[in-house]
């Protein structure tokens, strides 16, 4: 019960926000800005711009979101991970809102990546299934690759225009388009948008992502996330658009996506996969329209955005309800659902009518506008008209497949009636009614929602009124033809599907998903090869490599540093030399030490030598510390003396000689380094400061100790923390029970 309550409250909140967005869109005269500095040095500001185009998207997100949350209350209970799914869905909604509202492109990018990550978790919601995990990973990799392209594009934009605010980028339009970087920027931004919006050849992740729960598909894969790419392209149209490259790129890719998506759709038997491919096709249509870029085309794109969001979200929800009702989504096995639940059929039929583009639905107006835009566009080939026509006809077929085929009876026996809960039925019906209402009152929608957002985008009014009935003209005839063709294809769709699958099988070696799989496989192979080479598990090997590299670095420094006069007579007293010689001898002997006792004694001698060294060169504190440390260490070693492993004969001679050689090279370089360092003995400014201020500011005359406990006390604190941690480690090592293997 608690879960349902949270669904309902989220739904209510989104609905309120949606209504507020519509109200704001009606009353907003000029864009509203809100900005804070975040990282001014890299041009990153938290800056938001609320204009009517953003508000249009906010309306879409919140409106669909509200219904999706409502739908969740019926669909998700019984799912183990329902709370997680719901909360990530909420996170996704927030990042999507951030994406459409941000003015700074870097901020937009951050939200963009947020949607990618949250969608990864949503697609993989059923993470106990292998295919869900793979699909999630695939969606993530493809969209993240696009995201990287987008990031590079943003940096290049910054180089070209010197600003990252969308609003000022628009003002610098000429500067950007004249820049030599322009083609690169455009292609990279398009790559980002195409991967997100599942354009050919990146379309394959979207059908794969259908492993997500239905509410997620209804939200992410129809109305919002995949539209983020379209949003990006629309936003950049005033900045980058209206050039030959923009035109060719978007129209070409858009048309290809349209036809590929629509034909592949018919070969699917899973309702959701079918819907996903038609979504791909619709997204292609939107890209195509943005590529055309005429006033009419942009307006048509806006209308189609709304149309598509309404019907596609509704149909995805219906698919979810069908799954709940019949336990399968397979079109070949579903039938007679109309008798089982007439209400569900009604919920499916309304959006399907809109999808087919039948009057008086909003879909009809959308399709009319699209045809009109294509017919009067000056620069367009007949080929594209044909492609658009075919894609539309196939979409009609797909709509019939989704909303008619599962519902009509195929056998005589009538299945029992079953009631679906309200949350499973109401949202698609509401969306259907919205489509109908918008179709019946197009002027209201056009004037209050679409026209302001068009103005915000293009900066000028479109002068295009939405009308339901245009009279009998070429556009209308095309519409009717589309419907008839679509219905005819439905008649023979099983043959058509077989044809498509043959073509698909024939072309499968070149299919993008194949290439993707190959790429991932090769990458994993490369990674494991590289790991095997670089990490073979031998400490000796690692150390040798590190040493050789350090020697190289030192050698480089050796040859690049200016030679310094080396005064060999510096401060060498007889007694110091003797001490040093003694310690050096001990160090050399320790290499050859054959027993533990010998080694420890020699180590002690070296320590003592170092202590005396400190004494003679003016470091009484160091000498004391070193002495006490040596003492303590000796005690520690003595205390576990009998527990230490015995010395054993060492590794083969050849290996020894090699190691000795490597060590010698590094040692010689380091000696030289020391020589250079000794003669650097001007005191630096920091030491000077400490020497001057120890007594006056810190009231201590032992400068070393003052540095330790006052000037650099934070370091000391870190150090004693390290000691405490080491102590914990040792305790746990020694106090655990003996575990013999």
């Amino acid at each position: 019960m608690k879960f349902r309550t949270s669904c309902y409250s989220l739904s209510g909140a989104s609905a309120v926000l949606c209504i507020f967005a519509i109200w704001a869109s009606m009353n907003l005269d000029a864009p509203y800005y809100l900005a804070f500095d975040w990282l001014p040095k890299v041009g990153l500001r938290i800056s938001f711009r609320v204009d009517s185009f953003s508000l249009f998207f906010v309306t879409l997100i919140c409106g669909i979101g509200s219904l999706v949350f409502f739908f969740c209350a019926g669909y998700l209970p019984g799912d183990k991970s329902r709370s997680r799914t719901l909360s990530i869905l909420l996170l996704f909604t927030l990042s999507m809102l951030g994406l459409v509202l941000s003015d700074n492109v870097l901020l937009l990018f951050i939200f963009w990546e947020f949607t990618t990550i949250t969608s990864f978790f949503l697609v993989g919601a059923k993470c106990e299934k292998k295919e869900a995990r793979e699909a999630a990973l695939q969606a993530l990799l493809v969209t993240v690759a696009g995201g990287m392209a987008l990031l590079v594009a943003i940096l290049l934009l910054f180089m070209a225009a010197g600003t990252l605010e969308l609003s000022s980028l628009e003002a610098n339009r000429q500067l950007i388009q004249d820049s030599p970087l322009y083609p690169v920027i455009l292609i990279l931004i398009a790559a980002g948008a195409f991967t997100k919006s599942a354009q050919f050849p990146f379309h394959f992740w979207l059908p794969g992502a259908m492993t997500a729960p239905s509410p997620v598909s209804a939200f992410l894969h129809s109305a919002t996330m995949v539209k983020a790419g379209i949003y990006l392209l629309a936003r950049f149209h005033p900045i980058l658009g209206e050039t030959v490259l923009w035109h060719d790129l978007l129209i070409g890719i858009g048309a290809a996506t349209m036809i590929v998506g629509a034909s592949l759709a018919l070969a699917r038997t899973d309702i959701k996969a079918l819907l996903a491919y038609t979504t791909v096709s619709a997204l292609g249509m939107l890209t195509f329209l943005l590529g055309l870029g005429t006033t009419l085309a942009m307006k048509a794109a806006l209308v189609f955005l709304l149309v598509h969001a309404c019907y596609k979200a509704a149909l995805f929800m219906v698919a979810g309800s069908i799954e709940k009702l019949a336990g399968t989504r397979d079109l070949d096995r579903l039938h007679s659902l109309g008798k089982m639940s007439p209400a569900l059929w009604c919920a499916a039929a309304l959006p399907a009518l809109s999808m087919c583009g039948l009057p008086p639905m909003l879909g009809f107006i959308g399709k009319e506008l699209i045809y009109e835009a294509k017919l009067i566009a000056p620069t367009i080939d007949e080929l594209f008209l044909l492609i658009g026509f075919t894609a539309n006809a196939l979409t009609v077929t797909a709509a019939l497949l989704a909303a008619v085929k599962p519902f009509i009876p195929r056998t005589m026996d009538s299945p029992p009636k079953r009631k679906l809960t309200l949350p499973l039925l109401a949202p698609p019906i509401i969306l259907g009614i919205v489509s109908l209402a918008c179709g019946l009152f197009p002027t209201w929608v056009g004037d209050n929602l679409l026209e302001p957002s068009f103005q915000a985008l293009k900066g000028e009014p479109s002068q295009i009124k939405l009308k339901l009935w245009h009279g009998v003209n070429p556009v209308f005839i095309l519409s009717v033809l589309t419907l008839v063709t679509g219905a005819l294809i439905y008649w023979i769709h099983s043959y058509f599907a077989r044809m498509v699958s043959v073509v698909e099988r024939w072309s499968s070696p070149f299919a993008p998903e194949r290439l993707y799989a190959q790429l991932v496989k090769r990458f994993v192979q490369f990674a494991s090869l590289q790991t095997r080479l670089a990490q073979n598990g031998s400490l000796n090997f690692y150390l040798t490599v590190t040493l050789c590299f350090a020697s190289l670095l030192l050698a480089a420094a050796f040859f690049s540093l200016p030679e310094k006069a080396v005064d060999l007579s510096l401060l060498i007293h007889l007694k110091t030399s003797l001490i040093i010689l003694g310690a050096a001898a001990a160090a050399v002997l320790s290499i050859r030490a054959q027993s533990m006792l010998e080694a420890v004694l020699l180590l002690g001698v070296v320590g003592l030598g170092v202590t005396l060294f400190f004494v003679f060169y003016g470091a009484p504190d160091l000498a004391l510390t070193q002495f006490l440390v040596e003492l303590l260490l000796l005690v520690l070693i003595a205390s576990i003396w009998s527990r230490l492993p015995a010395f054993r004969p060492d590794t083969p001679k050849r290996e020894k000689r090699r190691d000795l050689f490597a060590a010698c090279i590094l040692g010689v370089f380091l000696s030289y380094f020391v020589l250079q360092a000794v003669f650097l003995n001007e005191h630096n400014a920091i030491s000077e400061f400490y020497a001057q201020n120890a007594a006056t500011e810190a009231f201590g005359r032992n400068v070393v100790n003052v540095i330790l406990v006052d000037f650099r006390a934070l370091d000391t604190m870190g150090e004693i923390t390290v000691l405490a941690i080491a102590m914990m480690g040792i305790m746990s090592l020694l106090k655990t029970r003996k575990t013999k293997r």
Partner: protein
């Protein structure tokens, strides 16, 4: 010159021992390396007699004085070195207890 070669020698011995397969030898090598690094830092501050202690009645150190900054750094390094060596000792002990030896390459194969 002598000091420089001494430090170099410490480094050579330390690195060489660190490269041995025996864990005990590697530990001794690490200790020698610790000495070498401490001396290196210390020496880079220049060498002079006297102590970095301000005399009674004075306000600051009288030149020439040994650089106090490297001394402070080395002091902490020595104590940390103690911590590290104690940890190494415990580690060797534990390894010997579990695996019955200290040969690192053998340990690798036993993984």
């Amino acid at each position: 010159m002598i000091i420089a070669s001494f430090i170099g020698l410490l480094y050579i011995a330390g690195f060489y021992l660190l490269l041995r397969r025996s864990l005990v030898r590697a530990a001794i090598g690490a200790l020698l390396l610790g000495h070498a690094a401490n001396l290196l830092i210390f020496v880079s501050g220049g060498l002079s007699a006297g102590a970095p202690i301000i005399r009674e009645g004075e306000d600051s150190l009288i030149s020439p004085y040994p650089d106090p900054l490297p001394q402070a750094l080395v002091l902490t390094a020595i104590v940390i070195g103690l911590g590290v060596s104690a940890y190494l000792l415990a580690l060797i002990h534990r390894t010997a207890e579990i695996a019955g030896g200290d040969d690192m390459d053998d340990l690798k194969e036993e993984e």
